[in-house]
Amino acid sequence: MQPEFETVLPVYIVGDSHSLPYRNMVFREKWTGAWVMARSKYIPSLTAHDFFNSATGDFHPELIGFLEYEGLVRAGRATHLSTNEVDFAIAKAAGQPVRPPLILIAVGEIDVRGPIMRLLKDTYDFVPPFATTLPLLEKPLVPWDVIEDAIDTRLGPLIAGLQQLVAAGFTRVYVQGVVPPTRNEERIRELQSYDCPVTVRTKLVQAFNRKLGAKCRSINLTMLDRWSALTEDDLLRPEYDFDGVHVPPKGAHLYLEALIDDAINSRGLVANHSRYELYYRIACGLNAFQATEPNPA
């Protein structure tokens, strides 16, 4: 009798330290019963701003390194769409379906906690252009357009990089919304060497996520939003405050569930048209690689 085995559905997670709670996570998703496995890469201090360099077209080196390590990129190309004979042989040896991979990017929290929050510290508050349950403090106000400009500046390289990922054929990319910040004011003082009230920090994250979500939608990507599950009255639920910065693995699991819920219903994107072209050519008795590989003869 042949031993039974299953293969997992990999989700490739790359980002700042918010990718860490996913490490070694496996679970069965509810839709098909498949095992989902997080394959994660922590890139220390990765920010939205450092994700991609629009001037040179370079991604953060460790991001490309991760994609190469996982076999998703070879010689600067998305391997799942490659019609190169070597990539075909690799896929054949693996013996598994070649699908557009599910990728989750976790960046942005350092951008908020660093350069954006520094604009306000404990000195200012701001009025966001959306309804919020959070109170306005008795502090001088920074105009919204200043905050907005700061957010846009940090998000610009990330969005440009996401566009490049899509253009390279990675159409099933998700972005994790920045997690709600800790209520622990001392922890922020310890991290940042200055104070910033939780209501102001939380509004900043809300504002950042709204911009991030809208920009993701504009390029047909999805930002994963589990705000309502992670918060109570818009503030982080204590059970999800792991260390004053990150959510615990059970919080990360919520994001991964949201990704799976979206992806299972977006399977129009799953077809691999490059592989079909090869398959069709072989079935027709044609040289599958002739069209794409110059014949040295």
């Binding site: 370079d58 699908r99 054929g169 027709c284």
Partner: protein, 316 residues
């Protein structure tokens, strides 16, 4: 020495004048725009190349931390590798249908009316259009049903056997070799019943293109007579003209669902029962198979896939 110096000086003046004249025309030692292109960062120059379909051009190289563009889009014509069919050279019973398919992107083939009428009565259209066979390796409908105006069903073993015999026959073997350029197998078969309604159609009752992968074509086998009130199949030709395909019980429409914008029009007064089929290429040494995969369309990767299993309805 003096003569040599004079010659060198004359050479410099000549070069200077020549380059000056070239400079006025936008040239340097190389063309100015060529120089600009050579000195432009790679990202911009690769952007100028546009998307490379399926990563085909291996001569373009990415920088160490860059990604080259590549597209994952369906072809505009799903039967591009079928040679132009010549009925004189390859005579067959369905030769005129192959010609029609190649010219119009659709053809109608009569099959057993009696059998179709029987299956209309015996098959069970007992499901909604929610996808209970969701699988990560298959493109397909959403898990939740999106309309109450359509009913679906899984074919009985008897119907699967009937279709297997039908499509394994010499006529259809020849048809697919002519229309597709290779043998075909059935990637999915499902029952679809369109209930009469006056509201606008949703899903397959809206004008759409399927985005089928290369080599994948679709079929609809009418299980009832279809007149204008029964929700006939409609398509738009390349000139945008609308065509309505009325038909008899047993008529099989085979069409390129990516080439033709199409819909099953909403039936206004009478119920339409049909079998929905997906055909995909089959390797020459492969046996004809009929896959039953619920509300899925086609495998994500034609080389490797499993037949999805069904989940209980209450797991949604």
């Amino acid at each position: 020495m003096a003569i040599t110096s004079m010659i060198n000086s004359a050479k410099r003046r000549l070069k200077g004048g020549f380059n000056g004249a070239l400079g006025g025309l936008g040239y340097k030692l190389v063309r100015a725009d060529t120089l600009d292109r050579l000195t432009t960062p790679r990202s911009q120059s690769t952007e100028l190349l546009g998307g490379t379909p399926n990563g085909g051009d291996r001569t373009v190289q990415a920088g160490r931390f860059q990604l080259l563009p590549s597209v994952n889009k369906p072809p505009t014509l799903c039967t591009a590798h079928a040679p132009k069919f010549d009925p004189q050279k390859t005579p067959s019973q369905l030769a005129d249908k192959i010609v029609a398919f190649q010219q119009e992107g659709i053809t109608v083939i009569s099959t057993g009316a009696e059998e179709a009428a029987t299956f209309r009565e015996t098959e069970r259209f007992d499901r909604d259009v929610g996808n209970r066979h969701s699988a990560w390796d298959w493109a397909g409908n959403s898990v939740e049903s999106y309309t109450d105006d359509l009913k679906a069903g899984l074919p009985s073993p008897a119907l699967v056997d009937y279709l297997h015999a039908l499509f394994s026959g010499g006529d259809f073997e020849a048809f697919f070799r002519g229309a597709l350029g290779c043998p075909a197998k059935v990637a999915n078969v499902r029952l679809v019943r369109s209930l009469p309604h006056l509201a606008d159609g949703v899903g397959p009752q809206e004008w759409h293109s399927d985005g089928c992968p290369a080599g994948v074509i679709r079929g609809v086998l009418y299980l009832c007579d279809v007149d204008a009130q029964t929700g006939p199949f409609q398509y738009k030709d390349e000139a945008g003209r609308e065509h309505t395909v009325l038909g008899k019980t047993g008529d099989l429409l085979i069409f390129d669902a990516t080439r033709l914008l199409h819909r099953g029009s909403p039936p206004s007064h009478k119920m339409r029962s049909a079998i929905d089929l997906v055909f995909m290429p089959r390797m020459p040494d492969e046996d004809m198979t009929i896959m039953v995969v619920g509300m899925n369309h086609w495998p994500a990767d034609p080389f490797f896939f499993k037949i999805p299993t069904e989940r209980p309805a209450d797991l949604r």
